[in-house]
Symmetry: C2
């Protein structure tokens, strides 16, 4: 294992210290319990958005904290759910009186810990709503999940709901929008290589030189099947067809296409996938009107990609386009 | 070699087609010869900025085309200089009457081909100035270079000069600013793994499980020495000390610290490096007032990082902060 770390047990705290040093105008970082908030939190009268999950998926979620997106992120240990005390402390820190929306990826530990934190926060008088993201069409249940896993759709939900909260929508409306995003987004990924959790010191699974894991989870969970390596166009087809079949998208829909790197796959390959995925969408009559291409929800250094397709309505489009100023997504701010 | 490609000979063109599909509002892409321009090129009366180089370093340079940064980028084959006809065609396409600045990384092929293109463009009545970027302190001459290599400082020069051109500075002034950035920036990198050029099909060099290449070039060129793997803090020190010693930076300087991923190294590791590098700068009395953290000048999927430190004056700071709207860098636009 060659990684730019000092000691496995210090990875999360040292990375947080680096984020604090790099983005002092955008972020405030608290330790023990660990959480990240926007520098100007709490924002009075605005619904606050909070997400979190295991570390190792950066920039998700800490890189999405800032004006127009998240108010707080709670990073757990690598690939490990954040604890209820982290989530509770962050919830109280960002509540500006209009309540807090928890955006939770559907993994059993995350769901349980967010629920517990929400109950405790409510006991202390904070209004909390939670929305579970479960956009991965690959498998029904998985290693850490009952039901579908939450993956790339989370990034889109956080951006769109962040725009809505900034525009002044109330807690019920932002939660409803978040459920709408989740209902209209479908994702699937493929791994070309595994990744190594620092504490484990060795890859979480193994793949042959000519094998890929089709439908992989963001922690390396098994997907639909292990198959032989294919060309990019074929892989784009194999990811897009189940996505398009699942919703179902229909001719005339406007959509956002998100081609994500799982970490180790460079942009030149993502754009080759994008080209074919956009062609396939067009052949189905789906008009791609917005795009996101890059490493936004990663699995450490894992090579591979995931595709997410979100059917956009007018509100989602407007809030997607709204200004955002975070370390990882920044425009119009 | 597992890569998300179809055929090695189509990598660049298919990736360009993907960029065109993903960013229709920002970019126009021409084929044969290949070049990328801003969608609104040529911009009348504005100095145009053009850069280019081998593909495989994305987002550099194509991802930096847009308002506030480059007017055009010329992608060569992977790790191969763009040809004079590409550069000439792009130069003519973006000239808005105020001349064109070529920003050229110091590699022998790039320098020669940019010079030839500039001569041809001048013959056709286009005013061209060229600035060579050579910010890598690792080695004096290298595999493809006489003198120092051009690396991370290029990204900073393109952003700052793009802001200056947008603000209306003339060709001589933008070129002078670009030389000033180059004179005030120093960089150095380290590779943890090699990368594989698609055409070659195998890694460009080999590293043992406990070895790193200290001072590596962005094409995997040898650096200062091959050493045993070290902890992140030690690596940050080994990169920062030669950078700080070379300029020299002095107490009270304001600077921008850029921690770059060579491709395969995830954000969590970059922030661990950032934390220590910023501490070291502070111990030297250098005040880090701006940061850039992420994969901006890469070597395909190579794991590793490079650090760049730029001493900022008031103009550089102002143009760094100016709006930019490109696929890879986007703020305030």
């Amino acid at each position: 294992m060659k990684k730019l770390i000092n000691a496995p047990e210090n990875v999360v705290e040292e990375a947080l210290a680096g984020m604090a040093a790099a983005h002092p105008h955008l972020l405030k970082i608290q330790f023990d319990p660990n959480f990240i908030t926007r520098a100007d939190a709490p924002v009075r009268g605005k619904v606050a958005l909070l997400s979190g999950g295991g570390s190792g998926h950066e920039p998700m979620h800490g890189g999405f904290v800032g004006h127009g997106m998240l108010d707080a992120a709670c990073p757990g240990a690598v690939f490990t759910s954040p604890t209820p005390d982290q989530i509770l402390a962050a919830t109280k820190a960002v509540d500006g009186g209009a309540g807090v929306l928890h955006i939770v990826k559907n993994y059993t530990g995350d769901v349980l810990n967010f629920e517990m934190a929400a109950d405790l926060a409510k006991d202390e008088g904070v209004r909390v709503e939670a929305v579970i993201i479960d956009d991965d069409v690959a498998v029904q249940d998985s290693l850490y999940t009952a039901g579908r896993r939450g993956v790339g759709g989370t990034v889109l939900a956080e951006k769109i709901c962040g725009g809505a909260a900034e525009a002044g929508l109330d807690l019920a409306a932002v939660a409803e929008l978040c459920r709408g995003v989740n209902a209209n987004v479908r994702s699937m990924g493929v791994a070309l290589t595994p990744c190594t959790v620092p504490h484990a010191g060795k890859p979480s699974f193994t793949l042959g030189d000519d094998e890929i894991e089709f439908g992989v989870g963001i922690h390396g969970e098994p997907g639909r099947k292990r198959i032989k390596m294919e060309q990019a166009d074929k892989i784009a087809e194999m990811l897009m067809e189940p996505i398009l079949a699942d919703l179902p998208f229909k001719s005339g829909d406007k959509a956002l296409l998100f081609v994500n790197s799982l970490g180790g796959t460079p942009l030149v390959e993502l754009y080759i996938i994008y080209r074919k995925a956009a062609e396939i969408a067009k052949a189905h009559g789906v008009e791609i009107v917005r795009s996101l291409v890059g490493p936004y929800i990663t699995s450490l250094e894992m090579a591979g990609t995931s595709l997410s397709l979100l059917k956009l309505d007018e509100d989602m489009l407007r809030f997607w386009d709204a200004p955002v100023v975070t370390p990882a997504l920044r425009w119009g701010g």
